[in-house]
Structures are given as structure tokens and as C-alpha cells.
């Protein structure tokens, strides 16, 4: 670590090994489990009665399940940003953040897949995707790239974990028997030889290179689920880039929030330093400006022309039914975070944390706005259909399920942080050694 060169190896290990949760951690975990259980109950109701428990209709045929799906895919992109893009561009300072980013990526992509199954009218026929799959459907592209992304992300989580597993196996008095068995099962083959390190490094580099196009694909394809249709608000060539820039922003915001929380509750001030917040802050400003740029493209250009199809949709967003959420999402998701983070004082941990939360919440509502308003403005008038189809507000089951999946994502991250070191131990030691230059290179990996 650049600004804490005095740490010894033992101290690093003691600091970073997973710790038991305190009272607050237990309350947090049980609350998440509780929210998940409510979600599971709501899904049980949906399974037994059908999608009628939702407030979707023949016009708004995609609701918050789909916007939640887009949100999950978006936030998962940060894994590729921090692990792969930063690594390949040799931004070493981001090393302590890689595992945080990668576990966010993995858990978000798992729940993205789950919520899309939850949205299906016939989840029992899921196998039809493989038995009768047709490659020209963007849904098939999504199935392919998301599963690829999941596998690569999982490997990028696992491979750098191997040396840490060895350390944890060594310090087995720190964990319970079951956890030690898990560590042994996952990492006993890792002896930490120079050759193993070489293979692992090589594999990680290859994975980092491959994950970038795959990451771009998952969110571009997700944007195409909308952009390949004719509907006003979706029919846009801007959509791929717009989605990806928004994805990097919400992911970076999520990482900032996680950094703050782990730093505070795991007392990691020496490892996640103010320097990290300062640098992440600059990145978040850049990403916010980028996303703002694509938003201007997305809304200003059609608003300038006001084609009749777009008019009702855009007016609904700017000054109509959805204006409150729209301006809330723009302000809280982009403008206010930019205003906070352009100032050096704003890039301190606490204001960063607040800005990060704003970005994540704003992004969630932004996804809702991308999906729903468009569906309420079809080409032909909404007539000869039940009155309740003319509006959409999610039912309690939909809220419960959506919140349940969000809680589930946090729960996976929480469990992961309880079981594994959230900051890579071995890599921290290695970098410390490299910075100190006190040891000959051959001994670095010991």
C-alpha cells in the first residue's frame, strides 16, 4: 500500500482475514433474510396464481421485474471495469477493490438471471430455450452472453482467491470447522509455487481481456431487448452506449457504497484509504458526465423533433405522469453526485458514500423509466381493454419480489464477506513488498 508502508505481513493477514459479525452485522443479515423470505412468499403466490398477482397488463407487459433485471445487469458490469479495465491499464491502486467489484458482479448477475425467470409466464418451460432456441432472438443472445459473463466473473473471483484460501487454511483457528472444510475443498490444491502463480496470473490476464467484450455484450444486448422494437422511447441507436455508460456509473456507485461500508465495519481504513475514495470519486464524476451526455442525446434529440409517436412519451417524462420520477432520477442519479464529487472535499468517504447511494437509487428509478412509460404509449390507442391496463403501478407482490432479489444480492455479498477476505490478502502483501522493494523478487510470493 502506497501510504501505509509500515504494515507487516502478519498484520495484513490479521487485519484482512474474515471476521465474525457484530450485533449490527447480525441485524443486517437477518433483515435481509427476512426481506428475501417475504419475496419468496410473494413468488409462491405468483407461481400458484399466475402473473395475475402482478399489476402488469397487455400494454404494460413488462414491469419492475424487467427494470430490476436491467438494473442488475447494469450494476454487474462494474466487475469488468474494476477488475479487468483497471488491471489491464495497470491501475494498481484499485487492487483492494477488485474483490468487492467482482462479488457485486457475480451476485448481481445471479439475481438478474433469477428475476428474468420470475418474469416468465411459464418458468416450467425454461428448457424450451435450449430445446427450441432460435438464435435470431435477442433473448437467446442475452442467455448466451450472460451465462458466459457469469462463468468468467466467477473465475475472476475464484482464481485470485486461491492464495488467500491457502492463508485461511493456515489460520484455521480463526474459522469454524465447516468453513475450514469449505476452504480445503476449494483451495487445498493450491500450494503457492512460482509455477502455480505464473499459470494463475496468465489465466487472470486472459480472463480480463475476454471479459471486456463479454461485459459490453451483456449490456448492449440487454439494451437491444428494447432497441430492437419499434416503440417510441426504445427505438434508438443510442441505446447500447447509453446503457453501458449508465451501467458503469451505477456499478461504480455501488462499489463506492460497499467500500465505505466494509471500511467502516471491518475497520479497513489502512487498506481502503482516502486515496481510494479520491480516485474513485474522480472516476464516478467522469462516468456521471458520460452518462449525462448520453441522456442528453437520448432525450434532447427526439424532443427537438417531437415526432408524434415520441411526443406523448416525452411529455409524460418531462412534465406529465412520470415527471417527478424522471427529474428525481436525473438529479439524484447524475447532477447532484457530480456537484458533490467535483470538489475535493466531496471526495471524502462520507460524502462519497452519500453520492454513491444517490447514484444507485437514481439508477434503479431510471431503469423503471426506461421500461414502463414507453409501454404506456403504444402506436394504436389503448381501447377495448380492461381499464386497469391503462395504468401501471406494481402490486405488493411485485415490490416484494423485486426487493427480495435486491436483498438477495446484498445477502450473497454479505455472506461472501463473512466467509472470504473482502480485500485480497496475498495481492496486498505482494504489492506492499513491491512498494517497499525490501525483498528480493524471488521471495515475493511467499
Amino acid at each position: 500500500m502506497e501510504n501505509s508502508p509500515s504494515l507487516t505481513k502478519d498484520q495484513i493477514i490479521q487485519d484482512l482475514l474474515p471476521q465474525k459479525f457484530g450485533k449490527l452485522g447480525m441485524i443486517w443479515t437477518y433483515s435481509l433474510i427476512f426481506i428475501c423470505l417475504i419475496g419468496a412468499f410473494a413468488y409462491y403466490r405468483q407461481l400458484s396464481k399466475g402473473l395475475v398477482v402482478t399489476n402488469m397488463g397487455d400494454y404494460v407487459s413488462w414491469g419492475i421485474y424487467i427494470s430490476n433485471f436491467v438494473f442488475f445487469v447494469a450494476i454487474s458490469l462494474v466487475g469488468s471495469l474494476i477488475t479487468a479495465i483497471f488491471r489491464l491499464s495497470n491501475m494498481k491502486w484499485a487492487t483492494p477493490l477488485t474483490r468487492i467489484a467482482e462479488i457485486i458482479a457475480v451476485s448481481a448477475i445471479v439475481f438478474a438471471s433469477l428475476i428474468i425467470i420470475i418474469d416468465m409466464g411459464r418458468p416450467d418451460r425454461m428448457l424450451n430455450l435450449f430445446l427450441h432456441g432460435r438464435i435470431q432472438s435477442p433473448i437467446m443472445w442475452d442467455v448466451i452472453v450472460i451465462s458466459t459473463y457469469f462463468v468468467i466473473s466467477l473465475l475472476l473471483l475464484y482464481l485470485p482467491l486461491l492464495p488467500d484460501l491457502k492463508i485461511m487454511i493456515k489460520f484455521k483457528e480463526r474459522s469454524s470447522n465447516i468453513l475450514n472444510k469449505l476452504y480445503l475443498f476449494q483451495g487445498s490444491f493450491w500450494r503457492g509455487t512460482a509455477e502455480q502463480f505464473k499459470i494463475s496470473e496468465r489465466a487472470i490476464t486472459i480472463l480480463c481481456i475476454t471479459i471486456i467484450p463479454v461485459a459490453f455484450s451483456i449490456h448492449t444486448v440487454t439494451s437491444w431487448l428494447f432497441a430492437t422494437t419499434y416503440r417510441p422511447g426504445w427505438d434508438s441507436t443510442n441505446f447500447g452506449a447509453y446503457f453501458i455508460s449508465g451501467a458503469f456509473l451505477v456499478g461504480a456507485g455501488g462499489v463506492v457504497v460497499a467500500m465505505f461500508v466494509f471500511r467502516k465495519f471491518y475497520k479497513l481504513e489502512k487498506y481502503i484509504t482516502e486515496m481510494h475514495f479520491e480516485k474513485m470519486g474522480r472516476i464516478v464524476v467522469m462516468l456521471s458526465l458520460l452518462y449525462l451526455y448520453f441522456n442528453i442525446n437520448e432525450y434532447l434529440v427526439p424532443a427537438f423533433k417531437m415526432k408524434s409517436g415520441e411526443e406523448a412519451h416525452l411529455k409524460g417524462l418531462f412534465s406529465g405522469e412520470f415527471a417527478l420520477i424522471f427529474w428525481f432520477a436525473i438529479l439524484i442519479g447524475m447532477i447532484i453526485p457530480i456537484l458533490i464529487l467535483v470538489f475535493k472535499k466531496g471526495r471524502k468517504p462520507l460524502p462519497m458514500f452519500i453520492a454513491g447511494i444517490m447514484i444507485v437509487i437514481g439508477a434503479w428509478f431510471k431503469r423503471y423509466l426506461i421500461v414502463t412509460p414507453t409501454l404506456l404509449h403504444p402506436f394504436l390507442p389503448m381501447q377495448d381493454a380492461p381499464a386497469e391496463f391503462h395504468h401501471y403501478f406494481p402490486s405488493w407482490e411485485e415490490w416484494a419480489i423485486a426487493m427480495g432479489t435486491l436483498a438477495g444480492t446484498l445477502l450473497v455479498i454479505t455472506f461472501f464477506a463473512r466467509i472470504y477476505p473482502i480485500i485480497p490478502i496475498q495481492e496486498t502483501i505482494t504489492e506492499q513488498d513491491e512498494t517497499c522493494m525490501s525483498l528480493p523478487p524471488t521471495k515475493r510470493h511467499e
Binding site: R125, L129, L375, Q383, D384
Partner: protein
Amino acid sequence: MENNTSRRDFLVNGLLATAAATATGCGNNPFAPEETVALSGEKVKLLSVDGEIIEIDKAFLKPVPHMPPLTNSEERKGIEGKKFVMVIDLARCKNLKKCQEACNHAHSLNPGQNWIKVLSMQEAEESAPFWQPTTCMHCDEPPCVKVCPVDATFKRQDGLVLIDSDRCIGCRFCMAACPYSTRVFNWEEPILEEAVAAQPYSCETSMPQKIGTVSKCDFCPDMARMGELPHCVTSCPNGVFMFGDMNEDSVTNGAETFRFSELIKDKAGYRLMEDLGTKPSVYYLPPVSRNFPYESGLENLSPADKQSH
């Protein structure tokens, strides 16, 4: 000649006898009534193959299925040599909704589900409002078929776009893709008569509807196979709907028959949203020289739409 006929009769009878003998396993006269049949005493008149009117007891009548059941791959292929087309004459529509009623009844649709919607259209503030019955457009470049991940909705060689509800996974991408908002989802378990619910699903009748799957207007290919017109066509008292075959260049509403190409030319037929490139199979005739004033249809507005008027 006569000799020939009798010889063929003999052959046919012989074959039947052999078949019957094989089936029953004994040498009974195949033309004798089966022992289990109890005569009802009620006679019915039938036209024999020779063109003579004969009288037989009702008990001998056996229910014959309308059609030999089609396999899924036959249903996906379509009726050979056909290219179905519909023409909707907006000058004749007064929002009676008989089409919708007949369609909903024939397909056992649940309340709130309409495959045919009669829309109150007005292109601009100063332009005249008119009633527009909207069916599935059976596009030649169907956006719904493009996006379906499992081939549950498909395009047939006779031009129809149909749905295999036994395969649909309920992702509703087709509903998002369809610019005509024609697709209807089964949000809950459809309430069906037992006889309907017990049938195996047929892509041609689009019945029975299944929970969690998409449905829509199918142009009634089951009726076409029997040489009959779709329910909307036959139920409309004003002859709004004309159905036919592009290859034969003719469309009919049951009472009048037109040469399709001439009708479209003479009355300036058009299709909806031509700019999207979906190439619909439904043509509209503009609402000029109307049979009814627009206002005559207002009383039939559905309650939900009355508010917005």
C-alpha cells in the same frame, strides 16, 4: 363404362368387407347393423353418394371428427398454395362489435381479452373520426416472430402468424415487439368449458388457451380448412371484413366477392404503419362515403373507453 363402375364398386365393397372382417375378427356382413345399436325409430334423410335421397335410422349416424387431427408440424407449415389476406372496409363499420363477440365466443376468450379491438381513430384534431377494427396483421415481416426465442410464434407458408401455446415460455417479448398491440396475455388460468379445456392445444384453433402464454387473432385457419370464413367475417352484418386468398386474387365477406387487386386499386386500400416495414396482410379501405355516421358507434364504446371520450 357401366361395367367399369360396377367393377370398382365391387372392389371397394370387397376392401371394406375385408377391413371390417379384420377389424371385428369374424365374417359378418359388414353392411348389417352392429348388434349393439338400438334403433331409435327416428329417421333422417341423407344424400347418398349416387345423389339419391335415402332414409336411415338416426342410430346409425356416427359422429365423425370434422377434420383429421393435424400434427404440430403440419400446423406450422400451413395450407399449401394459399396466401391469406383480409380487407377491412372502414366505410362500413359502426362499432357494432359483432365481430368481437363472435371471435371471443368462438375462441372461448375470457372477459377482458379481445383479439379484435374496434378502435376509435382520429388522425388529427380537424380530421374525421372513424371506427377501425384491428385484428392481427399477419405481417410478412413479423416483428413478433423475429424476437421469439423458442419458435412459439411462427410464420407459415400461407402467410399466417400463429402461436404454439404448448411451447410459449411467456417472456412477452412478442408483445413488446408488436407495434399493433394485438397480442393478449393469459395472466391467469383461463376459465374454460370442460370440453374445450380437455382438447389438445391446436395452433390452428388457438384453443384451449393456457395460463402464462400469449394469444392473438389467428385468421381462423381451422375454418379455412373447412372452406369457411373466419368468425369475424361471417358475424359482421355490415360486411366490413373481406377474407380471401391473394393467390386467387379474391376476397369475400360471404355476400359479395371482389377481385382483391381491383378492390384495393379502386378504393385506395392501404396498410397500417407501412413505414415500419412489417408488411401486414390486412388492408384497410378508407372511411369515405360511409354507410353510417361515426356517432352511431359511440353507444357501443366499452365502459373503460367511455371516460376518455
